[in-house]
């Protein structure tokens, strides 16, 4: 089975103006013929959220790399949380708070994905589009995040199988997610696939980066991160 996997993370205009680091982080790495992906958005109000988001993505890679074919993703989430707490020491969890989105795609096309907090997790399996992320009940930047307590009820998980070309999983931080027309997400995923399927990985990454840097929403200011894994053939 063939996949195209690309991602990019760009520093938002606000952090560029302030000469502050990107508080988003991402990981996209090959794994046993499949892919591991993660994006995280450090909470802007916390002093070391840039470190918190980077460590979160590193922990996802570390934990998922060690998994076998059968995955009970909800059962691994407490382990990820515990390892994140270790990884950020001696920074207090509150200062490193971050959202987290992750996905594992096996060589056979099995997808497991999870999300805590803001952002968007999109999937297409067997040609059927699915938005895993529930509707937000409040306003922007009011989010659950990795902190000191593990909050199992705040995680959203999903599983599926990439059975045909164009099936895939997309992870977005809220710098992109909040500025997307909510009723056009299926078409957004399709356009993403159409563009990435005609490029190699390096050019795909550059294309995503250019799209995020030249974002169209007026007064956009957040850091932006997008990671996508698509099946391209049988």
């Amino acid at each position: 089975m063939m996949f195209i996997a690309c991602g990019a993370s760009v520093t938002g205009p606000r952090h560029l103006d302030l000469r502050e680091p990107n508080q988003d982080a991402m990981v996209l790495t090959g794994w046993r013929g499949g892919w591991l992906a993660s994006v995280a958005d450090g909470l802007g109000s916390r002093a070391r959220s840039d470190l918190g988001s980077r460590r979160a993505c590193q922990v996802v890679r570390q934990v998922l790399r060690a998994t076998s074919g059968d995955l009970d993703l909800p059962a691994t989430l407490p382990m990820m949380h515990a390892q994140w707490l270790n990884a950020i020491e001696p920074i207090p969890p509150r200062d490193a708070a971050t959202t987290m989105l992750l996905a594992r795609v096996t060589a056979g096309g099995d997808v497991h994905a999870a999300q805590l907090g803001d952002g968007l997790l999109l999937m297409r399996c067997g040609g059927h589009f699915r938005r895993v992320t529930p509707d937000r009940t409040g306003y922007s930047n009011q989010t659950w995040a990795l902190e000191s307590e593990y909050l199992p009820e705040k995680w959203h998980t999903a599983a599926g199988k990439l059975t045909q070309a164009g099936d895939g999983v997309v992870l977005l931080t809220d710098g992109v997610a909040d500025d997307l027309e909510p009723d056009q997400l299926a078409e957004f995923l399709e356009v993403l696939y159409q563009n990435l399927s005609t490029r190699n990985r390096r050019r795909g990454r550059r294309w995503i980066q250019a799209e995020l840097e030249d974002w169209a929403t007026p007064m956009h200011s957040d850091d932006k991160t997008l990671v996508a894994v698509f099946r391209t053939s049988k």
């Binding site: 302030l18 409040g138 909040d178 500025d179 056009q184 005609t198």
Partner: protein, 225 residues
């Protein structure tokens, strides 16, 4: 081939500021309504020129004098062409105003989920004349509306300060007591400063210190009786 940009929302993220203004008959005394009109206009003008940084400041005005109504629907401050003079008349249906505010805050079409945390400002010089406690409880407990920042100003000695304290939820801003017309201006300047600082800050959702400017030394205002 299509770009991702065509899926980007064309409107900037809004930062809604909603004023709940007491326009009952007693506000017509001692220059209170005139001070409120002038202070509101000054705030909207400032928002209209400063609302171009990280968020688009939107302003809405709910009045309660005789009956509660949406005097100014929530729109971008730079699009406000005329605020319309507020007139003081009638009783004080504050509970009905709370209901209007809650309906607005809960409406995802008028305030989308991508909006920054709204600011709700209540100002009153007297006692509500309708059933206000249940509407206030609903406002403070409803799913989205409870997440707004709520500020309050007590105008003159007859304001129901206990109720205004129940309304306010910003630890940075205890209820402000306006003793004269100039105090109303000072309160609105503090609101203006707080909101415009938020739009320029790294995170427009962060609480900003609420600092009411000191009165002018040469001010000669008579206190509300």
């Amino acid at each position: 081939m299509s770009s991702l940009k065509k899926f980007a929302v064309a409107a900037p993220r809004p930062l809604p500021v909603i004023v709940l203004a007491d326009t009952s008959g007693s506000m017509g005394e001692n220059g209170k309504i005139e001070a409120l009109n002038a202070a509101m206009k000054e705030m909207v003008v400032t928002f209209s020129v400063e609302s171009r940084l990280r968020a688009e400041i939107q302003v809405g005005l709910i009045t309660f004098g005789g009956k509660a109504k949406m005097h100014l629907p929530l729109i971008a401050a730079h699009s406000v062409t005329g605020l319309g003079e507020l007139k003081a008349e009638g009783v004080t249906p504050m509970g009905a105003a709370f209901d209007l505010a809650r309906q607005l805050l809960e409406d995802k079409d008028r305030i989308p989920s991508r909006a920054y945390r709204p600011v709700l400002i209540l100002l009153s010089d007297g006692q509500p004349t309708d059933d206000w406690s249940a509407p206030l409880k609903a406002l403070c407990e409803s799913e989205r509306a409870q997440k707004a920042t709520r500020l309050a100003m007590a105008i003159g000695p007859d304001a129901d300060e206990a109720m205004l304290r129940d309304f306010a939820n910003d630890a940075e801003a205890p209820i402000f007591r306006a003793h004269n017309a100039r105090d109303i201006h000072r309160f609105f300047r503090a609101v203006t400063m707080s909101v415009t600082t938020r739009t320029a800050s790294q995170n427009p959702d962060l609480a900003i210190a609420f600092v009411v400017p000191p009165p002018d030394d040469d001010a000669l205002d008579l206190d509300f009786q």
